[in-house]
């Protein structure tokens, strides 16, 4: 038979059980569950499987009973799923075996916050199906309570306790019980159950209950068990204080027992448990030794047939100098990512200020410190990415002291080298930060230094209005080109005029290599104040009409005709269902790309008439020109703008600005390649018109309906950041007295950054924190009764 788990069976020595005799009693043992499958119970935090715990206890119990002349049978001796028998066969086996007693071994689980011992028998508390089952249960629960670190004990009828009958106790033709020794989902107990000796002593307790029930004699020897804990540290999981489980168990200790010189080496499974067995009754001295703690001892008196507890809270040896136990990144052949944080784990609680002062990174990197694990682990997180392909040196000098003021014996230093791959950055964007006069129908363009992982974008890119309300967007384009990542989108409806908007990029945005933005990014911009009203539409660009291809136009020159064309498309439009798309490519600078209408449009001679075209800009920084004929058909070329916008904008001029007099005709739109412009691009045009109306939105300021204090940007910052605020139209006066002050976390005033009268309008002020320490600060705007406070984070 294959044994899946070779369990170390340490049977209590025969000398310890002299006098105990079960005289051929037939006992059937059922270690519950089995096989790491769906009916098993697993505690991820500790790695404990109930099937394993039950089997270990069952095998120990079998060996104990066999050594005292019982005849035993077990429902399983392995932990294969295939050997996990149906309940009906387990019960049938026990009956066929003619067992005098049946016992099912389990550990309990509920909500992770209970830990008591429970023994169940079939029936109700007052009316057990077999009264002897209740008697047996009491013996066993009394013994289990003495060896497991639990809060209470219960010997109950299954129907009374559960409200139904247990299947495993159904159909037994003998005395039968089920024990739940303790709760495996209570994490301190789960760690104890990871100690095989703890399980063994539970089996020992069950056997002791059986011996007492049968009056089969007592063991002439006893045990000393204990738990070593650090009273200065609290565990991170749920605990029951009355069990002492708030205090962190100590690993890898040594306990020695005198006389006899027995020693026990504690495991590393966070239980601090030890036990000495087969001890003759009498006085003993227990000596406790654990690294970092003062040597200690206790006196105990061993009683026959009983486990005596010798739990010890160890005294921390604060005089030991601190040392570094580990660090990361480690010196490995592979270089280190530029977004890697630096962690250093110390042997004991540290004085944080001293360590942060003693920390030195070369080349210099600005970042922040965080502490965890009881101030034993320091993590330094850089505000920006580390430099690429750079050897960094970290040094902690001996001014770093422990919480108790003891210095490190020597400096601690280590190096690592960063990879050549940079972290994810945004390298350009439109609009630029704080850019004004952005078209209300503009297009947002974001360019990253790496292709973006689209799976990281959900909810990570937002266009926010002044109130922080997310705006609906459309025409989203996400693509990569030449090793860069691009994200373009447009607002679904035109943005408000003369309004501040914020493009918010969450730092969860990542590239294909798993690098993420180092911080959240906010890009503020202000829209144009102009309002446009369509005039007489000369051409809605719904069909190609009399437009001549650029290659056939009179003045086109220096273009790559294979990659230059003009067509009518449906993908973008201002009015109707289509627009004109001009895709162009120049051979070199000073090229001219003309789209010409062979039947020019009459635009009249009224000086105040506005002629304009909706143009979807491509940020090419080439020159946009409109060409006209005057009344003598002489050509007039008018520079309209540098194409430094993206998205739709209305580009116009007054008839009077065209020059000349008399009726004029519009015949061409021209892209002229500039010194600083791109060689290729794509624009769209729509709704060529005359007699359009525009007005600067002077009244926009009236839309400021109250004082506003906006979130600073960037945030976090180092060392400067900008703070925007608004002053509304004022009643009965022209100016308001505005104060903006900065405070630290303790409420101390740090700086006054605005302290003067302001008229209505939007303002921005820069705050420089070069003399301040990293941390959280508050800034407050106060105007009359208006007070508003926001937080900002300085990371150096």
């Amino acid at each position: 038979m294959k044994i899946k788990y070779l369990l170390p069976l340490v049977v209590f020595s025969l000398c310890s059980i002299i006098g105990q005799n079960l005289n051929g009693k037939k006992i059937y043992i059922n270690p519950g569950h089995g096989g790491h499958d769906s009916n098993d119970r697993f505690i991820e935090a500790t790695g404990f499987w109930e099937s394993e715990g039950n089997l270990t206890k069952g095998l120990y119990l079998r060996d104990l009973l066999d050594s005292t002349n019982a005849i035993t049978a077990m429902s399983r001796v392995t932990n294969f799923t295939a050997d996990d028998k149906p309940l009906s066969t387990i019960v049938a086996e026990a009956n066929a075996f003619g067992a005098d007693y049946f016992h099912s071994i389990h550990s309990n689980g509920y909500n992770g916050q209970a830990n008591y011992t429970l023994v169940l028998f079939r029936g109700t508390d007052a009316n057990p199906a077999n009264p002897q089952s209740k008697v047996m249960g009491q013996y066993i629960v009394d013994e289990l309570y003495l060896v497991n670190n639990v809060t209470a004990k219960y010997n109950r009828g299954d129907y009374s306790f559960l409200g139904y009958y247990l299947g495993v106790l159904s159909g037994l033709n003998m005395v039968g019980t089920l024990s739940e020794g303790s709760f495996h989902d209570y994490i301190p107990e789960s760690w104890r159950l990871m100690n095989l000796d703890y399980r063994e002593n539970e089996a020992n307790a069950i056997s002791r209950g059986i011996y007492k029930y049968y009056s089969a004699g007592d063991k002439p020897v006893g045990e000393v068990a204990g738990i070593l804990r650090d009273p200065t540290k609290t565990v991170s999981y749920y605990y029951i204080t009355s069990l002492g489980d708030n205090k962190k168990p100590i690993n890898n200790f040594t306990v020695t027992l005198q006389p006899g010189g027995k020693f026990y080496n504690g495991d590393n499974k966070n239980n601090g448990y030890f036990i000495f067995d087969s001890l003759a009754p009498g006085p003993y001295k227990v000596y406790y030794q654990a690294e970092g703690f003062f040597y200690d001892s206790a006196s105990v008196t061993v009683t026959a047939n009983k486990t005596v507890w010798a739990i010890k809270d160890m005294a921390f040896d604060y005089t030991i100098p601190p040392s570094v136990l580990s660090h990361s990144p480690t010196d490995t052949p592979d270089s280190i990512r530029v977004d890697e944080s630096i962690s250093i784990t110390f042997s004991r609680q540290m004085n944080k200020t001293s360590v942060e002062s003693a920390f030195n990174i070369t080349p210099t990197a600005v970042g922040s410190f965080t502490w965890e694990s009881g101030d034993t682990k320091l993590t330094f997180t850089q505000l920006d990415f580390l430099q690429t392909s750079t050897i960094y040196n970290i040094n902690i000098d001996t001014t770093a002291v422990s919480h108790w003021g003891y210095k490190m014996d020597s400096n601690y230093t280590f190096n690592f080298t960063t990879k050549s791959k940079d972290g994810l950055r945004i390298i350009s964007h439109y609009p630029a930060d704080s850019q004004q006069f952005i078209p209300c129908r503009g297009q947002i363009r974001l360019v990253f230094n790496s292709p973006i992982h689209t799976g990281t974008l959900s909810g990570a890119v937002k266009l926010l209005d002044e109130g922080g309300i997310s705006q609906s967007v459309t025409s989203v384009e996400i693509y990569s080109l030449d090793g860069k990542g691009y994200i373009n989108f447009e607002p679904s409806v035109p943005l408000n005029r003369n309004a501040v908007y914020n493009i918010f990029l969450d730092k969860k945005i990542g590239d294909l290599d798993g690098y993420k933005l180092r911080n959240d990014i906010e890009i503020f911009f202000t829209t144009k104040a102009e309002k446009y009203t369509d005039g007489f539409i000369l051409d809605g660009l719904e069909d190609i009409g009399n437009w001549v291809a650029p290659s056939s136009a009179d003045s086109t020159t220096g273009v790559d005709t294979n990659n230059t064309n003009f067509s009518i498309v449906t993908t973008k439009k201002i009015g109707g269902s289509k627009s004109g798309k001009l895709q162009y490519k120049f051979h070199a600078i000073n090229g001219v790309c003309q789209i010409q209408n062979s039947v020019p449009y009459e635009i009249g001679a009224v000086d105040s008439s506005i002629f304009g075209i909706w143009v979807f800009g491509d940020l090419s920084h080439n020159i946009l020109e409109y060409w006209f004929y005057d009344n003598t058909t002489s050509n007039i070329m008018k520079v309209i703008d540098t194409i430094d916008w993206a998205g739709w904008d209305f580009k116009y001029l007054l008839n009077s600005e065209i020059g000349s007099s008399g009726d004029k005709q519009f015949h061409s739109l021209v892209i002229r390649q500039s010194d600083t412009g791109l060689l290729n691009g794509t624009i769209y045009i729509d709704n060529i018109q005359k007699d359009a109306l525009t007005n600067i939105l002077i009244e926009k300021e009236n839309l400021i309906d109250g004082y506003r204090l906006y979130q600073n940007y960037p945030n976090p910052f180092n060392p400067t950041t900008k703070i925007r605020y608004s002053v509304p139209t004022l009643e009965n006066k022209l100016m308001a007295y505005v104060q903006i002050k900065v405070y630290d976390m303790l409420g101390r005033e740090i700086a006054t950054i605005v302290n003067e009268e302001k008229s209505k309008g939007n303002y921005e002020v820069e705050f420089n924190a070069k003399n301040l320490a990293s941390g959280l600060y508050f800034y407050t705007m106060k105007v009359g009764n208006f007070i508003q406070t926001k937080k900002m984070l300085l990371l150096k």
């Binding site: 038979m1 009916n39 149906p86 066969t89 005098d100 299947g167 495993v168 159909g171 033709n173």
Partner: protein, 302 residues
Amino acid sequence: MKKFLLTCLVLPTLVFGQQIKIVETKKITESGDYFYPRFSNDNSTLFVTSNNYNGIKSINLETKNEKVINNYPGAGYDYVISEDGNNLICRPYNYIDGMKYYSIISQNLIDLHENILEKDVRNLSWIFPSKQGVVYVKEGNLISSEINEFKNYNEDIYVYWDNWSIIIERDGNRKEYKPFDDAIYIWISLSPDKSKFLFNLGNRGTFIADLKGNILLELGKDVLAPEWSPDGNWIIYMNQTDDGVNYLTSDIWLVDANGNNKIQLTNTDDMLEMYPKWSSDGKMLTFNTIDGDIYISNLSFE
């Protein structure tokens, strides 16, 4: 009480060209501690016991009258009815010094007169009916009691578990058979024609073997508490699932004696049907639920 879903129990099935279905199911008992029912030889009566086999009652299927046969601990486990149907022979136990000691008591089913055949024997197991009395295993030996005359029995075929083996006794020859290993083999039963037998090993499943010990058929791990039909053509069994502590599902199934077809007879969501038994004419089934209720189902063969 859980509502019984009769329609779910009526599952027509086809075996050997026959359509087999449950045409009617009756609940025999009100809620209570009724378990492991079996028919009397003439099918007029059900014998039931408690969950832990304490005592035996009879229930007249016509009048529904209940009669206590006895209240002995363990009497309801492994008892038999004599072939003439007049006597019930059971094997109750007494705990002495924490150990079970068994007796064999024969009771007249008319006047309940008791005849104690054995008294407080430690190793006493497996009772089989014989023409004029009973055969049982005492201290590893097959003993026949016929009209109070005890003798070693060597005139028939018996199969049972003892000494971690299956024991095949055939005309006085004893053979220890261990198909897999030293183990507790359960639910051992001889076919009606006494040519083969069923057995189960908990982690292996249910098998059919011939009297030489050759395994003829592996019926599977889902075949639990199997029982031959009176004509030996079918085996009825329960198919249960559990979570290691509690039963989750249990239904009654049929498989033909060649193991070719497994047919589900019950399929209820709110009831766990367990431990089915045939009537002697093979036209009825009786079973108990996990909650201790007794049912009888009439079968139709078309």
